[in-house]
């Protein structure tokens, strides 16, 4: 099972969590990325490539389900304008055992950062700039190649 959603709607963490927990699995791992409150960012805008984004996320989820024998995987990504404390992305994995759920969750968020066509623009102090890619994201994604 797999659910991938890309939308401008505010992400309800409780609802996401309830959905991934409903699988009957023994272990549920989740990661939630939020707009940080300590970073002086007033607005974070996320642009994406409609169609290609969903396909990239579905391919990632398919890969994780096969590699870790997941019972369920869930990726919910917001696009558009968002503000500090709001959720940018929810990743949830459900598996019979905890190791699989935890590893697959880390894999999905690491790969999503480098393989899904999203671009972040930050507004702070009235100035707007595109976020530069980080080498650490490439390194995090690369460790799953093995």
């Amino acid at each position: 099972m797999m659910t991938v959603t890309v939308s401008e709607a505010i992400i309800d963490a409780g609802g996401e969590f309830a959905a991934i927990s409903a699988s009957g699995a023994g272990g549920i791992a989740t990661f939630v990325g939020l707009v940080r409150s300590d970073d002086n960012v007033a607005t974070l805008s996320l642009e994406h490539y409609p169609g290609a984004t969903e396909a990239a996320l579905e391919a990632l989820a398919d890969g994780a389900i096969a590699r870790w024998d997941l019972i369920d995987a869930r990726i919910t990504h917001r696009v558009g304008d968002m503000h500090p404390g709001e959720i940018v992305v929810f990743v949830g994995t459900a598996a019979r055992h905890r190791g699989a759920a935890l590893e697959a969750c880390a894999f999905l968020i690491d790969r999503l950062k480098t393989e899904a066509p999203f671009w972040k623009k930050e507004t702070r102090g009235g100035a707007t700039s595109w976020v530069e890619p980080r080498d650490s994201d490439d390194a995090a994604a690369a460790r799953w190649k093995a």
């Binding site: 490539y49 290609a52 990504h77 899904a116 671009w119 972040k120 976020v131 890619p133």
Partner: protein, 85 residues
């Protein structure tokens, strides 16, 4: 060949539009050649594409290297490295 071009993030902002439809000559067979051809006729495109190291591309929604062949591409997207999640 008619190709729908899509631009994202600062590539879109610099070019000033999110998409355009172009008909490159048959000598244009790779993404890199398409970028050269676009830059040759337009100062705006040339400025947007000045640093090729910072450009990424997708052909018919599949991510490819800039030297990838266009084949019978209907949609080519040009954009900066992704920064999502």
């Amino acid at each position: 060949m008619t190709i729908e071009l899509l631009y994202f993030a600062w590539v879109r902002e610099r070019i000033g539009k999110a998409s355009e439809t172009v008909s490159p000559p048959e000598t244009v067979t790779t993404v890199a050649q398409l970028i050269d051809w676009l830059a040759a006729d337009s100062a705006v495109h040339a400025a947007a594409f000045v640093d090729r190291q910072r450009l990424r591309a997708a052909v018919d929604q599949v991510f490819v290297a800039l030297d990838a062949p266009l084949g019978n591409a209907r949609e080519v997207a040009i954009f900066p490295p992704v920064t999502g999640g």
